[in-house]
């Protein structure tokens, strides 16, 4: 699968849930490509902007769409990596801002077997 195919697979399905690809197409295609890189190296599509462990159970909360997407899109208009946005955010053309990390750092450490 390539990024274009992945785009086609996800678009309608996610839009029905109220999540739209970021209006920045170039950024979206880059992110989809990186999700495929992670699929190749970890076996699952871990968020490209987070440090994954490669262990599915440990990474479950950051497998795209991550568990933090709902709260981030509601609060900031986009998710942490910026792949998904609300329709309003895309329409209002607000600039992309830094979305603070909501994932507890303990999860990053636990996934890597660190404390």
């Amino acid at each position: 699968m390539d990024a274009k195919e992945l785009y086609g697979k996800l678009k309608d399905f996610q839009e029905k849930k109220g999540y739209y690809f970021n209006r920045d197409q170039k950024m979206v295609m880059d992110l989809l490509e990186m999700l495929l890189v992670n699929k190749e190296r970890y076996g699952h599509m871990a968020c490209p902007c987070r440090l994954a462990s490669g262990n599915f159970e440990m990474d479950r909360d950051i497998v795209c769409p991550c568990q933090y997407r709902e709260a981030d899109v509601a609060e900031y208009g986009t998710c942490f990596c910026g792949l998904y946005a609300s329709k309003e955010w895309n329409d209002e053309k607000r600039p992309l801002r830094v979305v603070p990390e909501r994932r507890p750092p303990e999860k990053v450490l636990a996934g890597l077997g660190l404390e």
């Binding site: 990596c81 830094v98 890597l112």
Partner: protein
């Protein structure tokens, strides 16, 4: 020129944008791709990041002793010009 170090992930878009921004400014930097490290080197690097950014998110950018979490262009510009 300020001493700039980026803790990044090779797949992270914000890290990529941050590097592009520094490249455009002609600002040299050291970039460490944490997802490409293993073993002790990875543990030690993560411990160093945790000290300056307890959330362990990427990019974590060091401009001298100033820490900027995420690709925050305004903060980065300010730190580079201070």
């Amino acid at each position: 020129m300020k001493n700039v170090k980026i803790y990044a992930l090779s797949t992270c878009i914000h890290c990529k944008h941050c590097k592009e921004y520094l490249d455009e400014r002609g600002q040299p930097y050291e970039c460490v791709y944490v997802d490409r490290l293993a073993g002790e080197e990875r543990s030690e690097t993560i411990a160093s990041i945790k000290k300056v950014n307890p959330n362990l998110s990427f990019p974590t950018v060091m401009v001298g002793s100033t820490v900027i979490v995420g690709f925050d262009k305004e903060q980065l510009e300010k730190a580079l010009e201070d």
